[in-house]
């Protein structure tokens, strides 16, 4: 996995703060939408995009792709108790 700084370099064209580079591990198209799962480092990121987008991007399992997420769309959940 590229250190965070490098993964920023490639994406200076898009304002979204989170551009998590990874690989497509599964694609499921149903009706208007598609679920695309990326492996990013040793965790998974799930996206629901349109089926048209999957076709237009010609996205397939194994492709290199990034999850593009606005920072205002990220909630934070505490996992430990305040010390």
């Amino acid at each position: 996995m590229k250190p965070a700084v490098d993964s920023r370099q490639r994406y200076r064209r898009v304002s979204g703060r989170n551009q998590l580079a990874g690989k497509v591990v599964s694609i499921q198209i149903q009706g208007l939408l598609a679920e695309v799962v990326l492996s990013v480092g040793d965790t998974h990121v799930t996206a629901i995009i349109t089926a048209n987008a999957v076709r237009e991007l010609q996205l397939k399992k194994g492709d290199l792709a990034a999850a593009l997420i606005k920072s205002t769309d990220v909630m934070i959940e505490r996992l430990d108790d305040p010390s």
Copy 2:
């Protein structure tokens, strides 16, 4: 970093598909909002949440926290060319 499957277990209470466990590396409060950066594996995830939330969660650098993101808020960007 926990394998993806384990990081799901702990969050069966919330519907959001993406719960990326990590550690708080920086917090910047300005006006109504705050920028919180987590290290997740070897990449960074940036959240913009309210300053009130940071205070209420008593969030500090080094705390264990997860980035909670709905799959419908994730865009996919191709990084290679279709083969």
Copy 3:
């Protein structure tokens, strides 16, 4: 319905400002997604989440649940005319 302040207490772990406690009144799964309707006080809140989330949370009609909504995802609509 718990007064707003109490309903905040329980959720100090998640940054989302809106955590509207209520009861599941209907669940409709179709394809990748599911519509979940909660009764919150004397109004309804509708969520579209993934079908996987409904299964993973083992969500059923009558369960106690909260609608978790980021404040940046809330628009305001005026209902009266400016005095």
Copy 4:
């Protein structure tokens, strides 16, 4: 508080499934943004909108307003344990 069904009637013009009618209880403008809190039934809903929007809507404490929220922006959190 109007029963859910009535509160739907008035909003047949906008697709957002959640239109939670209430009253403005506080407005805080800071920089580009503003925090607007509505009382909806006996709970609170917090919105972060732009300061321009508050000025343009001439929004004041006590005004009647609705929180307009897309169903795809609502997460569900279980509050009890699966029976």
Copy 5:
């Protein structure tokens, strides 16, 4: 197409900064959701809303409608290189 300023006038009731007036060019309902495409000026705007919303708004091809988008939901992508 109305100059931007006029298109603002009509929508002083809703806080969303982007209210792009246009005409419905296609509607596709599948399962819980519907894809609605508007022609706005000489470009297209695509919305994914619920099938219930399409029915409730009695939306048909040719209707006048606006795409309502929060400014916090808009990313910016550079199209040229920094000079």
Copy 6:
């Protein structure tokens, strides 16, 4: 303004359905965030992105840029009455 079809061509790398090409007409940075307004055809699109993003993209008035918006983030508002 390019016809809708062309404006799609250039963006086959990103899944977001709405990529509204235009020109930066104003940038306002305040605290963590920045308001960026694009002229798109004869209307305006307003984005709230992070101040860091404006700096990283080296965004200036007059630059060519697109508003990148997920279709699930677009609400529809009826402008006329059902016939």
